[in-house]
């Protein structure tokens, strides 16, 4: 009986201690959230983020490079028929593209001349820092960010454009010495200025916060009288000084257009050209002549 009483007493004590610990920790969480919420970009949490990033960045980098060979294994098991199918599709696409090139050759040449002229006039050639994606934010966090294995030592700072060979990936939000965090354009917080179609109409692209096949962007056009057509290519509009986005990077294609009487603007849905579920090698746009710890990829026409 006495033992029982002792144990009950101990239980009671343990529960009280657990409850007070819980309250202290909940208050600590509330404090951290408030600090970060009120602080914005220069919140007091930012240095802590940086310290954790400096410590964990290299670990993520090592893990990612250890995992990479195994990730590629499923690709070896493509059957011959699926490869044949791929070849057939690619040949068809090739033929179609070749005919397009043949018809638009004249315009292309003229455009290239204009481009070269504009570039030599403004002298703003840019270079790319190549980098691998080493970590992905989970969907449970409802924010779509990735970490790349290049940081301030490679010449990367916040507000730089990130792209891959398909198009625009996102922008750098913060960088440590060896890693950088990239906000993907499909994130619900991301807003990119874009131009669409032959008329080069300007608008704003917002992410829907979904990746994978359903990953889409919403384009709100500034001029409500313009109706974009399906299949139109959307490219970045570019910001002053190329930060955070440089101009002329393809973002995606218009897949559907809708407008409502209530809203004054036309809205188009864009399928991004980048496959955000399978990002690997990306490039970060840096000003030409940036000091970097790795070889920079020089953009065509840059000097």
């Amino acid at each position: 009986m006495a033992r029982r009483g002792l144990r009950d007493h101990e239980d009671h004590e343990g529960r009280r201690a657990a409850r007070s610990t819980l309250i202290v920790l909940l208050l600590a969480c509330a404090t951290v959230i408030t600090l970060d919420y009120r602080g914005g970009t220069d919140s007091p949490v930012e240095p802590a983020r940086r310290v954790v990033g400096e410590a964990l960045g290299p670990v993520e980098s090592v893990t990612s490079s250890a995992v990479r060979p195994f990730v590629a294994i499923p690709q070896w098991f493509h059957s011959q028929s699926s490869l044949r199918g791929d070849v057939r599709d690619l040949e068809a696409e090739n033929a179609r593209l070749r005919s397009q090139v043949a018809t638009s050759g004249l315009e292309r040449r003229r455009l290239a001349e204009y481009d070269a002229l504009a570039r030599s006039a403004s002298d703003t050639g840019y270079s790319l820092v190549p980098a691998h994606v080493i970590a992905y934010g989970s969907s449970q966090s409802f924010s779509h960010t990735v970490t790349i294995d290049a940081g301030t030592r490679a010449g990367i700072t916040a507000d730089m454009t990130v792209l891959d060979n398909d198009g625009l990936v996102g922008r750098v939000v913060r960088a440590t010495t060896t890693t950088a965090t990239v906000l993907l354009v499909v994130d619900a917080d991301s807003v990119v200025g874009g131009r669409v179609g032959r008329g080069q109409q300007v608008g704003f692209l917002r992410g829907r916060g979904e990746i994978g096949d359903q990953g889409r962007l919403d384009l709100d056009l500034v001029d409500s009288s313009v109706v974009p057509t399906e299949g139109d290519v959307v490219v970045t509009w570019g910001s002053q000084g190329g930060a955070p986005y440089v101009s002329g990077i393809p973002i995606g294609r218009v897949v559907s257009v809708y407008s409502s009487a209530r809203e004054s603007a036309q809205r188009a849905v864009i399928a991004p050209s980048v496959d955000f579920g399978a990002l690997d090698l990306v490039g970060v746009v840096v000003p030409a002549g940036t000091r970097s710890d790795r070889t920079l990829v020089q953009a065509e026409g840059a000097r």
């Binding site: 201690a17 951290v32 970060d36 993520e60 989970s138 924010s143 619900a188 994978g212």
Partner: protein
Amino acid sequence: MSVARGLLATLVLVVAVVLQVSFFPHVAWQGVVPNLVLLVVVGAALVRGPRFASVLGFAGGLAVDLAPPADHIAGRWALAFVVVGYLAGRIRQESADRGRPGATAVVLAVAASSFIGTSIYAFSGLLLRDPVIDVTEMVTTLLVAVVWDVLLTPFVLPPVMALFSRWQPSRVAY
């Protein structure tokens, strides 16, 4: 808790965080990955009780909030994991014999914790408007996350529980 224990707990959390961001995205479904840190916290709670687990949850949550790809408001996962650690720990406290919980109990604890944890995180996001998300997408993500966590339970929970129960301070035998 001795320094060695603290270091080992930190190591376990770091491994969980790194695997969660660097390895599991390759097998993820629509970007939803198993929440390893949550599994570690639940495992610790089931053998060590609410006090230890809520402290571990706070540390693990902060690690998830601050580790590189994270860009949301810090402290949100910490809040979720503190609550999860406390609640899962209460399961152990309430069980009369204080023995190891059975397999069914563990799976149920993980499913409930995963649901509660991700919900707390999602609702804190709705309150803070960080970022504005679609409710249907939120519910899908939540359910997929629960499935993932339950699937990983047989692989993660036994070693975690063995690891944490080994450090259990020896109880006075009555």
